[in-house]
Amino acid sequence: MTDTDRALLELSGLSKRYRSDRPAVLDNIDFVLKRGEYVAIMGESGVGKSTLLNLLAGLDRPDSGRILFDGVDYAGYDDDAATLLRRRRMGFIFQAFHVLPFLDVGRNVALPLELLGVARAEGDLRVARMLESVGLAGFERRLPRELSGGELQRVAIARALVHRPELVLADEPTGNLDPRSAGQILALLRERIRDSGGSGILITHSRAAAATADRVLLLDGRRLTAAETG
């Protein structure tokens, strides 16, 4: 079995219910994400996308089922262990960018490296390289308020990838952008994840955005099923 055939993420029988008198938000979800794979998950509002993201990020625990990351079940991890897993092996991109307004672009991108204790000189080099790869070379000293929405999302992509995570979770990354910028960002995201050798899950409403993924899944009625493409 080649490395790319191995599952990076494996969900089996994953269920989550918030109140006993209400139906489950996620019911017996099964899903496998292979290494290097880039998957889009689509769904209407309220179908459980946020719940699924919470579980994947280790920010919440399932009622039943397993979540294996590289073969290790982290569904039962305590908060610290789940946080360290996120820190080392995951990257996140949000719809609202969430770039710290009081830090310059360089320090925003360097945050994951600082958390991992990467030496400053090496960190600066990796940040510069990463910014160049997202088309923001020389932006290190700029403040977020000086950037456009598209540029801010590029910063967020750089921050999500700078520590070379194995999994990138992108939550509606183009929701706040115009169609032209959105197209550029999606292409960039796809390209950078592939370059870094990682895997990605893209949560989106947009069929166009989903179309940039290797595979599209539909979260509907508490189930995750393959979406019809085309």
Partner: protein, 833 residues
């Protein structure tokens, strides 16, 4: 619709609105309570004075020692005089009672014409007053002394007791305070003042010219005796306490001021939090002026409700203070028993207006800033700080600080440190306006530690200096004032303690009943004390009040064994005359600092004292500290005093014990030897020192309470700011949690922000408080009370206050962080910010 917009934020965060209103209410309550209590006490003071003066047109008053009765005949026959009412007014020592009883000896027949209200129903039966050894008591005096009609009352005359009989209790409406009324002849007899008066009330003929009569009187009256209009009589007692009352009012104003800063902080942060919504309203068509008025109205609504509540609380506090302390808020001079609060609708309205205006002022600055902001920019995230960054306050701040420094050097106005207070206000506002510039400079030098939570915390503060300093304003104001007060009180206490050591060199202090005009030791009693076994050395002093100016409180004359060589050791001298400047022809006079300020008794100058009915010239050879009397005191040699006045009596003594003598046993022996055991107060020097310090601490207790409340309001401001900003930043925390920051690391980050910011606040507050303390010590205190004080820093207290503040800020920030973190991380990052 606009009213709904005004009330919406208050409804949205009712707890915050309620606490802000309550904090403001507290400031208004303290101000109105202090005002109402003082007004109540002063009103009673005024009423009491009016009752005593009655319908008199002029009051002739001498020192308590009095003037010869013969003067009465001369005055009564002056042209223009309709009626002259002779009086002997004394504060008599009462056996077994720590305080004195104010007694007026009057001619009931004449008094019933001039002071009919005072005598009440007894005015109808004059013969009752003429009973031998009889006294009438006011209701308050009867209650304090626990005496009823027919009971005996032992007053102390010299070192002996004399029994008086209570003939009746004056009606409740006669006199509000503690008073005894006697027939003048009985009073002269009882108190060994035969042929002596010290007051004559005059009613003029309808066609008499007041100024002419006064001129005639001035020609006739001996030194130390003056004729004044009743208003001067009424104002004199009030003026003595004026500086203290004004200081107290200023202190209460600090709470109100802190409340205003709280409104400023709350409104500023609220406006920042809502900047997108406000920009949206502007985009939808709300005019700039309308937005400004809407935001101002929010502050005014808060202020109005808070002020109404504050006035109600103030009224309750005032009732409580009058009930518990008889209107005396700390210094013991303003106690008026029986004082009542009257409804003061104008005062209530004034405080409601002041509170509302202060809150409006606090809301106006952020309202202007928000209205001036371009909607397009305000809709963009991260605009909050750039909006604040535009406010350039440094030039105005530096101007105010320079003005404050200048004002501190100006003299008092009418005995009040008006410019001193103005200097404090200017320095305070200037310093607060300078906070953003100073804080950003301080934070710019913060090094990168390599610890992410701390570095992010510092970066957050560096990037949001404007917002952070808004939250610091209230705490900087209250903390710096608390530090200034602490330094002032500590300096004063240290100087006071040092002064006590100076003036209490002996082992035992003897004093006749405090502030009494009737108790003294004659030559035989002095000999008894001096020869008591165990007493090695005794020094006697004669203290009495003399009048140097009719419109001012009396000055204490102390005659003691002293000369130029001993003075530096025995008096707490701050200045003394060089040998070369002495005028041998004039006897030496040492004066307290108040004498220099109030009577211009400068070193080396000639100064006359009214002694034995004539003006005796002295030369001022030294200025000493006298923390016991703010209205002035002078010291002369006892030999000189006796030669002029022919008064060999003494009222105080310092006693040195022989080797091995036991102080308690000696005190007991002295009491046993004197004719009356209760006539003297005898205490070891240690006890006197302890008692004095206890009284000192009690006098300043109320200032600590007022200051603590101001700091509490400041802390509320910090906690609001912390919770407000952390709630606004929950998206940031959610993102950091996604990146892999542990929950505790986020809390450490927040606590670090709290600590760093409060450290900046504390450092700033310490420097500002130190500067303000200089104004308090060298300007306000000096000009209010004429007391010089050596600056001393209470390091332990300062360190404790600072630590408490830093810890409180860290705890507040962490608690706010916990609340913000309770929102799940995914939801937090999905919310638009």
């Amino acid at each position: 619709m606009k009213l709904e917009l005004v009330l919406a934020p208050l409804k949205e965060q009712p707890l915050r609105a309620a606490v802000t209103m309550l904090a403001l209410a507290l400031g208004v309550a303290l101000c109105s309570a202090v005002y109402l209590v003082n007004a109540g006490a002063l009103e009673e003071f005024g009423q009491a004075a009016r009752k005593l003066v009655g319908d008199a047109d002029l009051v002739v008053r001498g020192a308590r020692a009095g003037f010869p009765e013969a003067l009465y005949g001369e005055i009564a026959t002056l042209p223009g005089i309709d009626l002259a009412d002779p009086m002997l007014e004394l504060d008599a020592a009462v056996a077994g009672v720590p305080s004195t009883l104010h007694i007026i000896g009057l001619d009931p027949f004449r008094a019933s014409s001039i002071q009919p209200a005072l005598l009440g129903e007894f005015g109808r039966d004059m013969r009752a007053m003429l009973d031998r050894d009889g006294i009438f008591l006011s209701v308050a005096a009867a209650a304090q002394l626990q005496r009823g009609v027919g009971d005996h009352l032992d007053v102390i005359v010299g070192a002996r007791t004399r029994a008086l009989r209570v003939l009746g209790i004056l009606s409740e409406s006669s006199y509000p305070g503690r008073l005894g009324v006697m027939d003048i002849a009985q009073a002269q007899w009882t108190f060994d003042r035969l042929g002596i008066l010290n007051r004559i009330d005059l009613r003029l003929l309808p066609d008499a010219h007041l100024a002419l009569v006064q001129r005639e009187l001035a020609r006739l009256l001996p030194a130390g005796v003056a004729a004044v209009v009743p208003q001067v009589e009424r104002d004199r007692a009030v003026n003595v306490t004026r500086a203290y009352r004004v200081n107290l009012n200023m202190l209460a104003l600090v709470s109100l001021l802190t409340g205003a800063f709280l409104v400023f902080s709350t409104q500023s942060l609220s406006v920042l939090r809502r900047r997108s919504s406000l920009a949206l309203l502007r985009a939808l068509g709300l005019k700039r002026g309308e937005l400004e008025r809407m935001l101002l109205a929010e502050g005014l609504v808060l202020g109005f409700i808070g002020s109404c509540v504050g006035v109600a609380i103030g009224q309750a506090i005032a009732h409580l203070l009058l009930y518990l302390f008889a209107g005396d808020v700390g210094n013991g001079q303003l106690a008026v028993h029986g004082a009542e609060l009257r409804a003061q609708p104008f005062a209530w309205l004034a405080f409601i207006l002041i509170g509302t205006a202060v809150a409006g002022l606090g809301a106006w600055i952020p309202a202007r800033e928000a209205a001036a902001r371009a909607p397009a920019r305000a809709l963009k995230a991260g605009d909050a700080e750039s909006g604040l960054a535009r406010v350039r306050t440094a030039p105005l701040a530096l101007g105010l600080i320079a003005l404050g420094a200048l004002l501190a050097f100006l003299p008092s106005v009418g005995g009040l440190p008006i410019f001193g207070y103005a200097a404090i206000a200017a320095l305070l506002f200037g310093a607060v306006l300078l906070v953003p510039a100073t804080a950003s400079r301080l934070l710019a030098h913060a090094p990168r530690t390599g610890k992410l939570p701390l570095d992010v915390a510092v970066a957050q503060l560096q990037g949001s200096v404007g917002q952070s300093t808004i939250s610091l304003a209230a705490i900087i104001v209250s903390f710096s004032l608390m530090i200034a007060m602490a330094i002032m009180v500590y300096s004063f206490r240290e100087s006071f303690e040092h002064w006590l050591e100076h003036i209490l060199p002996a082992d035992i202090q003897l004093r006749m009943a405090e502030a009494s005009d009737t108790a003294y030791l004659g030559i035989p009693e002095q000999a008894l004390v001096r020869t008591t076994p165990g007493v090695e050395r005794a020094e006697f002093r004669r203290s009495q009040s003399i009048s140097l100016a009719a419109d001012r409180a009396q000055v204490v004359l102390i005659a003691r064994d002293i000369d130029l060589a001993r003075a530096p050791d025995e008096l707490s001298l701050v200045r003394s005359l060089g040998r070369g400047s002495r005028t041998a022809a004039l006897e030496p006079l040492w004066v307290s600092e108040a004498m220099v300020d109030q009577y211009g008794a400068r070193l080396g100058s000639r100064f006359e004292l009214p002694l034995g009915g004539r003006r005796v010239p002295f030369q001022v050879v030294g200025v000493f500290r006298d923390y016991g009397r703010s209205t002035g005191s002078v010291v002369i040699d006892r030999g000189v005093y006796e030669a002029v006045s022919r008064d060999p009596t003494a009222t105080d003594a310092s006693l040195w014990l022989g080797p091995g003598a036991d102080a308690a046993a000696v005190i007991e022996r002295i009491r046993a030897r004197l004719p009356s055991r209760d006539s003297v107060e005898l205490r070891t020097t240690g006890d006197v020192r302890e008692l004095s310090l206890r009284i000192f601490d009690r006098a300043f207790a109320v200032t600590y309470v007022l200051e603590a409340i101001a700091v509490l309001i400041g802390l509320v401001a910090v906690s609001f700011a912390a919770s407000s900003t952390t709630l606004a930043r929950r998206g940031e925390f959610g993102m950091l949690r996604h990146l892999g920051l542990l929950r505790r690391q986020v809390l450490v980050m927040l606590a670090s922000e709290g600590v760093v910011m409060s450290l900046v606040g504390v450092l700033y507050g310490l420097v500002l408080g130190g500067c303000l303390s200089l104004v308090l010590v060298y300007v306000v205190n000096r000009q209010s009370f004429s007391w010089s004080v050596d600056l001393a820093i209470p390091w332990t207290e300062v360190a404790a206050f600072s630590s408490i503040l830093v810890i409180a800020a860290a705890v507040t920030a962490t608690l706010s962080g916990r609340t913000a973190m309770s929102v799940d991380a995914i939801r937090a990052v999905r919310e638009d910010w």
